[in-house]
Symmetry: C2
Subunit: 536 residues, 2 copies
C-alpha cells in the first residue's frame, strides 16, 4: 500500500463518496485510485472556486462532507473565497491539496509561492490545517481531517499532501473516523436563559446555523409558543427550513440602518447558534452593532456548541414540550404580470416551485423582494449562498446541492455580477445533468454599490464613478454563455414570459437557465440610508 | 485631505495612470477619488484573477506598474493565482486592498477570515505587504508600495487599507517615490564569469527576466559572438524579444526528460537573471534538476540584481563591444492546409502577424509546435503567460498588454481548459475595445494530464480516470461564450479556415476570438517519457 492508497482508504472508510475536483499533476495518484474504485463519484469543475463552493452546497444538503481535490497552492487559492463562505457557515469540507514533494519544495520550482507555503494560506479559511511530512502519516492525517470536519456544527479541514507522500509505502493501518464530541451548553446557562425568557421583557431569540434547520426550528417554535419570544434568524443563514408549514422566523435585515430599526423594539436578544449581529461594514459616524445599546445581549449557545441539544434542553426548561407551534401559511398569489420585477419572480416561485425544493439565494439587491414574496411558497430548504459575503457562491452551491439531493428541484437565484465570478459552474451542471433552474437577476450592475457610493459622496456621482459599478457595456448575454457550457437557456423581460418559462422549468428535469432582466429602483433604499446617516 | 486622497496622491505622483479593479464597499472612497480625477483610467474586470493577471500583462509591456483595486480578503484571494504568476515573473504590481475598519475587525463581521487576516494570505505572493493602521500613514505606505514594486527586476507590493484609514483626516505631505537602487553584480563575479567563458568548455548562458528583453538580448548576442557561448532562455520567460532580426536564443524544454536530453551536451551553465532549471514537479525515481550532475552550474546574476548592467559589464569583460550579432531570419512558410494542427496555426501566425505584435502564450500542450513554428515570424514580444505555472493568466495578460500598448496587435494563444479559468477577461476586452485576437486551442481536455497520468499508472487508464482529465462532455462552445461577453467569434477546424479568419483578424482592429479545434497526438511525448522513466 502506498500513501495515496492509505489516504483513499481513510476517505472511503468514512463514507465520503463524492469528490469535487480540479486535479493536476500532484493529484494524479489520487485520480488513479479514484479511477480504479467504485466508491467515489468524482465531479470535475473548471475552476477551484466552483470545486469548493460545490462542496459547501453539497454538505449543507447531504449532512456530511464531500472532499475536494485541489492542485497546489494556486489551485487552493482559487478556492479560498468559497471556503471562506463555507467556514463562516460552519460547513464541513475536507480539502485534499496536492503539493510538491517535500524534498523538491526547497528547490523553488514554479508552483512554490515566493513568500510562504500552502499551509500559511490555507489556515485563513480552515479550522484545521496540516501538511503531511511522510507517506506513513498520510492516512491517519486524512482520518483526522474528516473527524475535525465533522466536529461542532461543521468545520473546514485542509490536508496538504506532497507527492512523495502519495507514492512512498505506507502502513495498512486501521482507520479511526469517530466524530469528535460536540460540546454541550452547561445546564446553568440553560436555566439562566429560561429565566431571561420569563422576565417579561420584549425578547428576540436569534437563531443561527443548525438551529435554523427543520429539527431546530421545530424546537424553537415550541419555545416561542410557550414563552412568547420572537424567533429571529441570522442575516445569512446557511440552511433555513422554510415555506408552507414551517415555523416562522424573521430574518435580521442586511442593511445596518434597517437592522437598527428592526431591533429598536427589543429589550433583550438571546443568541442561539448565531454570532452577535454586526454591520457587514463599518461606516463613518455609525455604530457597528445592529443592536442598540439599550438592548441586552445574552448568549445561550455558540455555533460551535451542540445547538440542537441546547434547544431541546431549553424547551424542557421552559416546559414547552407539548405546545402547538405556529406554522407559515401557504400563499398562492396571482400570476404576475407586466414589467418583470423581483417581486413578480417571487410570486412565480411561490406558485410553481415544487415541495421539497432547494432555493439558493445569491440574488443580492433583488433578494429583499424575492425573500418576502417566497415566504408562502411550498415547503423548501433555503440556502443563503454567501454566509461569508464573498460573492460567487450561488451557482457552485446550487451544483453541490443538486448532487447531494438529486430528487429535490434546485432553484438558484443569482445576481448577474456575482454570477460571473463562477459562471464555470454551469458546465458541471450540464455534465452531471443536475436538476437546477438558474434564474439570473439581470440588472447590468453591481447595484448594491450604488448604495455604498451614496454613503461616501457629497455630490452627484460622475459617469466615471458609475462606470466602476455598472456592467452594462457590453451587456452580458447569459443565454449564450449558458448554452456555450451546455445548459439550455432563455431570456425574458416580462412577468408573463418569466412565469411561463419558470413553470416549464419546474415541470422538466435537468439544468436550465432563465435570464430575467428586471426593473429595479434602489432609490428608496438610498434615500432611507442617507436620511438615517445624516440624522445620526 | 483624507486618507484616501493622500493615497490617491501617492499613486498619481508616481504616474500610475492605470487601475485594474473590482471594487466593493471598502474601496468606495477610492472609486470616488478616481471618479473625480482625470489622472487614472479605471478598467473594470469581472473577477479578481482577471484584475491581477491584467496588471501582470500591463506591467510586462508598459515597463511600469498598474495598480489594482481589490475588495477585502476574499477578493484578494481570488487574485492570488495570477499574483503568483506575477511574483514569479518579477512583474511590478501595486495592490490596494480595502479592508474592514481597524476597530471593526475584532467584531468579526462576515468578511473576516476565521483563521488569519489579509496580511497572512497576501504575504504568500507579495514581496512587500503592509496593513495601514491609520489614515496618517496611508499616503506614505502607498508611496513605499510603489518604491518596492519598482525595485529589482520588479516586485509585487500589497497595501491593505482599512476603511477608516480612507475617511479619517491625513496630512498633505510630500510624496517620495524615488526607486530603490537595484543591486549590481560585483566586478569580481563578472571577471570570474568571463574566465569561465574562456575555459574552452561547452557552455550555455542561461538568461532570464530582463536579460530576455531586447536590450538584454542585444548585449547577450555580442557576448555569444565573442565567446561562442550558447544563449539559452528560462522555460517560462515573462517577456522575450523574438522573431525576425532578434538575437536567437534556445528555450529550455518544459518536460524534465526533454530538458535532460537538451542539457546533456553542456559542460557548464551560467545563470544570468534565471533561476537554476529544475523540474516543475518531482517524479518517483527521477532527478529534480534538469542539469546533469556532470555539468557545472555558475551564477552571474540573480533576477533581483541589475541584469542589464551585468550583461553590459560582461560584454566589456570579454571584449564584445563591436561584435556582429547573429539574427533570427524571417521565415515565410506556405499557407497551411488540411486538418488544423498547432503547427499549421504557427505557420499562419508566422505569415500574418504584424511587426511589433505581442504574442501571449498559454497554449499548454499545443505550445511546443506553436513555439517552433513562430520562430520566423515578424519581430514581436513573446509573453509566456504563466511563469508561476498557475493556469488561467493568458486572457488577463492579453487584456493588460493591450491596454499598455494599444498600437501593438495582441495575439493570445489560449488552451481551452486553462482559458475557462478566467473567461471573464473577454468582457473587459470588449468593454475597452482591446486589439486582441484570442486563439482558443480546443482539444476538449486538460491534455497534459494524460502525460502525467501515464507516469503513475501501471495499466491502461479507465474511462473514469480519463473523465477527470477530459472536458468534452459537454464540449465547450467558445463562440457563444465569447459573443455572450461582447467579443465577436468564429469556430474553425481546418487549416484553410483558420488561416482566412486569422488574416481577417490581423487586418482589423478590436477584440476577436477564433475557436480552433485542433488535431493533436500526444502519444509520442508519452512514449518518450515512459521510455526514459523506465530506463532511468
Amino acid at each position: 500500500m502506498n500513501g495515496a492508497q492509505s489516504l483513499f482508504k481513510a476517505l472511503t472508510s468514512a463514507n465520503l463518496d463524492t469528490c469535487f475536483a480540479n486535479p493536476g499533476t500532484s493529484e494524479m495518484q489520487l485520480v488513479y485510485e479514484m479511477g480504479k474504485s467504485d466508491s467515489v463519484r468524482p465531479i470535475l469543475c473548471l475552476q477551484e472556486n466552483v470545486v469548493t463552493g460545490a462542496a459547501d452546497g453539497y454538505a449543507r444538503m447531504a449532512g456530511k462532507p464531500a472532499f475536494t481535490l485541489l492542485h497546489v497552492g494556486s489551485g487552493f487559492a482559487n478556492g479560498i473565497a468559497n471556503l471562506h463562505n463555507a467556514s463562516r457557515a460552519n460547513t464541513p469540507v475536507v480539502n485534499i491539496v496536492g503539493a510538491n514533494a517535500t524534498y523538491h519544495q526547497p528547490n523553488f520550482p514554479e508552483h512554490e509561492f515566493i513568500g510562504g507555503n500552502i499551509t500559511d494560506v490555507a489556515r485563513a479559511v480552515s479550522h484545521w490545517t496540516r501538511e503531511a511530512k511522510s507517506a506513513a502519516e498520510l492516512g491517519s492525517l486524512g482520518a483526522e481531517a474528516i473527524r475535525q470536519a465533522m466536529s461542532g456544527s461543521g468545520r473546514v479541514s485542509t490536508l496538504i499532501a506532497p507527492t512523495n507522500c502519495h507514492w512512498d509505502p505506507a502502513p495498512d493501518a486501521p482507520v479511526d473516523v469517530t466524530p469528535i464530541a460536540t460540546p454541550r451548553v452547561a445546564p446553568a446557562t440553560i436555566e439562566a436563559v429560561a429565566e431571561l425568557l420569563a422576565n417579561g421583557r420584549k425578547t428576540g431569540l436569534m437563531l443561527g446555523n443548525h438551529a435554523l434547520r427543520n429539527e431546530g426550528l421545530e424546537l424553537a417554535g415550541r419555545i416561542a409558543a410557550a414563552t412568547g419570544v420572537q424567533l429571529l434568524a441570522e442575516t445569512f443563514p446557511s440552511r433555513l427550513a422554510r415555506g408552507e408549514g414551517r415555523v416562522p422566523v424573521q430574518l435580521v435585515p442586511y442593511f445596518l440602518e434597517m437592522a437598527q430599526g428592526f431591533f429598536a423594539q427589543y429589550e433583550q436578544i438571546i443568541l442561539l447558534g448565531a454570532l452577535p449581529p454586526v454591520s457587514t461594514f463599518a461606516y463613518q459616524h455609525s455604530a457597528t452593532s445592529k443592536i442598540p445599546p439599550s438592548c441586552e445581549l445574552a448568549v445561550c449557545a455558540s455555533p460551535d456548541q451542540d445547538v440542537l441539544a441546547a434547544l431541546d434542553d431549553l424547551a424542557n426548561a421552559v416546559g414547552a414540550t407539548q405546545e402547538t407551534v405556529a406554522r407559515c401559511p401557504r400563499v398562492e398569489p396571482d400570476a404576475p404580470s407586466g414589467p418583470l420585477t423581483a417581486a413578480g419572480i417571487g410570486q412565480s416561485i411561490s406558485l410553481a416551485m415544487p415541495e421539497g425544493a432547494t432555493l439558493v439565494d445569491e440574488a443580492a439587491t433583488a433578494g429583499l423582494d424575492l425573500y418576502i414574496h417566497t415566504a408562502g411558497a411550498r415547503r423548501h430548504e433555503y440556502l443563503y449562498a454567501i454566509p461569508g459575503a464573498a460573492i460567487g457562491n450561488g451557482l457552485p452551491v446550487a451544483l453541490g446541492a443538486a448532487v447531494a439531493c438529486p430528487d429535490r428541484k434546485v432553484v438558484a437565484l443569482q445576481a448577474d455580477g456575482s454570477g460571473m465570478y463562477t459562471n464555470q459552474a454551469l458546465w458541471s451542471m450540464a455534465r452531471e445533468q443536475c436538476d437546477v433552474t438558474v434564474v439570473i437577476l439581470k440588472n447590468d450592475a453591481y447595484a448594491v454599490l450604488n448604495v455604498e457610493l451614496a454613503r461616501v459622496r457629497d455630490d452627484e456621482p460622475t459617469e466615471k464613478m458609475l462606470s466602476m459599478l455598472e456592467i452594462d457595456r457590453p451587456s452580458i448575454d447569459w443565454v449564450k454563455i449558458s448554452e456555450g457550457m451546455g445548459v439550455p437557456a432563455v431570456a425574458v423581460n416580462t412577468a408573463e414570459d418569466f412565469h411561463r418559462e419558470f413553470q416549464r422549468a419546474m415541470a422538466e428535469k435537468g439544468p436550465r437557465l432563465i435570464e430575467a432582466s428586471i426593473s429595479q429602483d434602489l432609490q428608496p433604499v438610498v434615500d432611507l440610508i442617507l436620511a438615517q446617516q445624516r440624522g445620526s
